[in-house]
């Protein structure tokens, strides 16, 4: 492992893993306690439309994907909040449309889309410096928002109705939360890919929840678990020569299921 660190791509991978773990640790806590996992997955999948458009018009797909995730977050929030359409149906429809758009755009783009697979399933070993900088900035925005609005987001997640009565702008915060999820998705795309984003948004937070009843501690723990999973996943994928994103996800999932099993066993005895 340590001799691997002399390669620049490996050092970048470590930094990317760290940045991804922070974003998914913090935002993942909100996603799980607010139970908006499916909406988050919808936003993630919709970003594929942006990746496709990026290929078509020749702009870094990550940037276009960010425009798409933000637009889908606001659009989805609007439909969920302001119409009577069933929430999960709306998410399902948008999710599929985003993916379809991506495929159409890529089909229209001239030539072959070489690293398309890495957008879908992630490749932490190929993250360019420019994307690292973007991930760093997005992490910063997320952390500033969460630090500044911690008590507001807590009320939003726990009891929106009571929040509204005491004057918390719950509607605006809900949109802001969806936008933070959109930014988190962008941070994660390079690491685990569009399709696997939801794993890192849910698994570290769910694991953390077993150890604490405090949202702040939960965020710290989830970030720590995220770091362990991404680094462990990178290491395993390196020595076993497997796809890095998928290895990270499987490692996280196995640990989570194991901990569920362990606590079940322990509660029996």
């Amino acid at each position: 492992m340590f001799e691997a660190l002399q390669f620049e791509f490996m050092r970048n991978a470590i930094v990317a893993g760290l940045l991804a773990a922070i974003a998914c640790g913090v935002v993942g806590v909100y996603v799980t306690v607010k139970k908006i996992v499916f909406a988050s997955d919808g936003i993630a999948h919709f970003s594929f439309g942006g990746v496709g458009l990026g290929y078509l018009i020749g702009i870094n797909p990550i940037w276009v994907a960010m425009a798409f995730t933000l637009a889908s977050a606001i659009g989805m929030g609007f439909i969920i909040r302001r119409t009577k359409l069933p929430e999960d149906t709306v998410i399902g429809v948008l999710l599929a449309m985003g993916m379809a758009l991506g495929i159409i755009f890529i089909g229209l783009a001239p030539g072959y889309a070489p690293d398309l697979f890495s957008y879908l399933f992630g490749n932490i070993l190929t993250v360019p410096i420019s994307d690292l900088i973007l991930m760093f900035v997005l992490d910063g925005i997320i952390l500033i928002l969460v630090l500044a609005l911690y008590k507001e987001f807590l009320t939003l997640c726990f009891d929106e109705e009571f929040g509204a009565i005491t004057g918390v702008p719950v509607e605006k915060l809900y949109f802001l939360l969806l936008c933070m999820i959109a930014l988190t998705v962008v941070v994660m795309i390079r690491v685990v890919g569009i399709i696997l984003v939801i794993a890192l948004l849910t698994i570290p937070a769910t694991l953390a929840r077993q150890f604490t009843h405090n949202l702040r501690t939960m965020m710290l723990l989830a970030t720590a678990f995220g770091i362990i999973f991404t680094f462990g996943g990178i290491w395993l994928s390196y020595i076993l020569d497997l796809a890095s994103g998928a290895t990270i996800v499987l490692l996280s999932g196995i640990v989570l299921l194991g901990s569920f099993g362990f606590s079940k066993l322990r509660s029996k005895t």
């Binding site: 008590k151 009320t155 929840r209």
Partner: protein, 252 residues
């Protein structure tokens, strides 16, 4: 509209998908009131509370809270919603839950200050939960959780306490204790509590109102008294004052 009324509802109509839920509601809540609103299960009562709180907008009629529209006036109201609506496993302790009620006096971006913490401490003492302030909310019994939510409503410094089915998840032994707590609070604020459980609330409240908004769909089997006959004409009706409702209702 009189200024001394905390809440004034005038000719309120609410429909959901064309079905009337509230019809022609007129209600005035004054300082010192302790009002119980009873009525059959399945809506209506909660909708009425939400109209007062500005969470449901009536199709017709006006709401005013201390002379203001509900969106502004509701900051004077402490609200305890129906118990079953919250996620029991939510990672939050008692202290942080109650602190949430201080948002109105703190505001955005700011941290809760010493005064907020003092208010939380006092409220937790009032409801008798101060010793367990760091326990997770989900580990408490239904009655204890109800106390925490009352504490959260109390720290907003309310003029009026609105309680929606407060005893639904409280076992009968705890109910007496719970009503004694309300009895103690009624000296400092008006209280309105909504329930389908007539016998329990009638002992403590000063006034009882009946709410039956769905005359066309529901018979009123649960409360077939001469009192409710008048309810058929008008969905909300003051029935009696003082200790009379206690005796009247105990007969059946």
């Amino acid at each position: 509209m009189s200024q001394e009324n905390l809440v004034q509802l005038h000719n309120i109509w609410v429909r959901y998908n064309g079905i009337p839920v509230l019809e022609n509601i007129n209600l005035a809540i004054k300082k010192g009131d302790f009002l119980g609103i009873i009525g059959p299960n399945g809506g209506g009562k909660t909708t009425l509370l939400k109209v007062i709180l500005g969470l449901v907008h009536p199709d017709r009629g006006t709401v005013s809270i201390m002379g203001e529209p509900p969106e502004r006036g509701r900051r004077h109201i402490g609200y305890v919603s129906q118990h079953n609506l919250f996620d029991r496993s939510f990672p939050i302790n008692i202290w942080d839950t109650v602190l949430m009620g201080r948002y109105g006096s703190t505001g955005m971006f700011k941290h809760y200050n010493a005064q907020d913490k003092l208010a939380v401490e006092q409220a937790l003492k009032t409801v008798g939960m101060i010793d367990r302030k760091f326990q997770q909310l989900g580990q408490l019994s239904g009655g204890e959780q109800q106390r925490v939510f009352i504490a959260r409503a109390l720290v907003t410094d309310p003029q009026l306490l609105l309680l929606d089915e407060p005893t639904a998840s409280v076992d009968s032994a705890m109910q007496t204790e719970f009503y004694e707590l309300l009895d103690h609070l009624k000296d400092t604020m008006a209280i309105v509590l909504v329930s389908h459980d007539i016998s329990a609330i009638s002992i403590y409240v000063n006034e009882i109102a009946c709410l039956n908004r769905q005359l066309y769909y529901h018979g009123s089997k649960e409360i077939t008294t001469e009192i409710l006959e008048s309810t058929y004409k008008c969905p909300v009706q003051m029935i009696a004052h003082g200790t009379i409702p206690h005796r009247v209702l105990k007969e059946h």
